[in-house]
Amino acid sequence: MLKVALVGNPNSGKSSLFNQLTGLNQKVGNFPGVTVDMKSGIASIGNDTNIELLDLPGTYSIYPRSLDERVVINLLSNGEHAEYPDVVVVVVDASNLERNMLLFTEIKDLGIPTILALNMMDVAGKSGFEIDAKALSQSLDSSVVVINAREGSGLDDLKHAITEAPEKQGEFKSFYAAEELSQELVRAILEKYPHKNGYRAYQMAQQLNELNFLSPDEKEWVAGIKAQYDFQDKKLQEKETLDRFALIKKRLDEALVIKPVKAGRSLTDRLDKIFTHKIYGYAIFLSILFLIFQTIFAWAEPFMDLIDLGFSEMSGWVHKTLPEGILNDLIAEGIIPGLGGVVIFIPQIALLFAFIAILEESGYMARVVFLMDRIMIKFGLNGKSVVPLISGMACAIPAIMATRTIDSWKDRLITIFVTPFMSCSARLPVYAILIALVVPDKNFLGVFNLQGLTLMAMYLLGFVMAILSAYVMKKLLKTSERSYFMMELPIYRSPRWGNVGITVLEKSKTFVFEAGKIILAISIVLWVLASYGPGEEFDRAEAQVRTAQPNLDESAMDNAIAAYQLEQSYAGHLGKLIEPAIKPLGYDWKIGIALITSFAAREVFVGTIATIYSVGSDFEDEGTIKSRLRDEINHDTGGPMYTPALGFSLMVFYVFAMQCMSTVAVVYRETKGWKWPILQLIYMSAVAYLSAFIVYQWLS
């Protein structure tokens, strides 16, 4: 199958084109050896022929400035790469042709058959540019196709050009012979690597540190050659860029007609007056955030209830249908609820990502980055940290993956480190039950609901801790790395719903597979810990309870047995083991069990305490758990166990504690090592423990 790579500047419409060509026929994988998402898909180009399409990260040139962008040069200059394309399509924004052309000329010179796809001709027309595609094709000596990626027009021409491209590639002629800037060095490299073309050989010297396919020996050799010929990489790169732009201008002059247009204030200019205003700008941003969260919670709830019901029905059905035994229990009590715990978050995550995709597609997100950059820098973050932090309020896993667009490693690391402090949707069930228990359902100042205010305070607390921790890390981490902001503010346009839909699908899938694997594994382990116990006491549970409380009815008996078994299980023993450590926070061994089980995922807390307080199969019914918890007696004081002091201590603990295995795993993957996830786990647990201790001692 023909392999085709899509390349282009950010905002050039590359992803729209990718979606147009592949539809839902796409998947996200990893580039071999690096943790950068590789979006690929299958597209039909007619006559029963399919091509494999690869969507490369958006970049302004083949000289990368972020982790994502590094993929481009590593793929396109390495003929042995498993994903090395047969044809490259460079998508350019026709309204901004000169700047977009830089990347095209660089890629053409790497010697792969290259097609220029002129996108946004309508915008160019309005700005007074008229481009003669045929003349451009002649002056560039390349295939040029006019497309409209938003509407999907011109795709047939593009497909036709793709089919023809490999044969059409005659003798290679470079656009600009950068290799002539250092002829002796290039000749020396070509002697050792005769199959490379001149520009690739030149790039080996230019981007020695970026190329990950060279072995240490090869790197050493190239470094030696560079020293031998006194290769001045920066000076040469500067000359190359200037020369390329000069040549681009010359070539474009032959094909570009510029008509004077009336210079009126465009819609984008007028909208920017409001959206980047020093007061309205922030007010609008906060209102949008507020609206998003209101909507997420309101709209997601019915779906979440439905999923919840579905999984407990399924669990019950399996329990009745399969023959009794370990397998039955494992599936009905371990695996299905474990899966349910993952799936239940899909509605919230899908909605949040739909909103983020709309904000990004419309061009508004770039303004948020613009507005927030200065403020975030003060705290060691960066304007681009805003998107991960907001996403973190749905789920830290996709949020941490979204930090890859941050080009400074230090800023990115700090963002990864503090994002889990943002209250994610898994904390919500924990907050919900505890708030219902200890905060009266009354109004404050007549309008604000006290419970709602408490919930908001928990979210704010997490945010404040994220910012403060970032500030401390900024002071501790020393780096000499430069960070660039330089970003295009794209024009405002209405989002393409197809693109939004595909993003939502992709993010939800990533969440389910990333988090799902781990949560599933842990829930099996937890099930084992809670279903088996040391010694005979565990097996004798039923007899014990029946002799102690013979007058219970059927379901109360089952519940009492389950509770007794849990106490005698490995999990119960673990809970008792850690009781001395958590006593100062106000917790007993029962809460200890819940802390241990919810270490895998926070939301497990509710299910576990429900089981411990023997609510049995009705445990999704909040009312029932609430009354059980309310009746729970603290054996030391004789009063109720769930006092406001305990409730707040637990809530604060869950605001700060890591309590999420999937996040640990994704941080490990993104930072390529155990150092940062372990530090993060220790730090967050320490903050959680100390804060819960202070809250409990202060309130009780």
Partner: protein, 72 residues
């Protein structure tokens, strides 16, 4: 010498060169070349990034990035 950071809203200037060589490579890739006319549009509050118009598009730069561009 005047830098792009000293332009007033709406004011235009012509790029003469750069005072920072690392930054200049990235700026040039964004189309900020010597001889290029740029117009300052607006800035984010608290000395935040600035937005410039050039080649028909809007480029936002941090203060230090704008300061690296010297004007004629």
């Amino acid at each position: 010498m005047k830098t792009a950071a000293q332009l007033k809203p709406g004011e235009k200037g012509t790029v003469a060169g750069f005072s920072d060589s690392d930054m200049s490579l990235k700026l040039m890739e964004m189309g900020v070349l010597p001889g290029q006319e740029i117009q300052f549009k607006f800035a984010a509050p608290f000395n935040g990034p600035r937005c410039f118009k050039l080649r028909g598009y809007s480029l936002s730069l941090r203060l230090n990035e704008a300061e690296a561009i010297s004007l004629n």
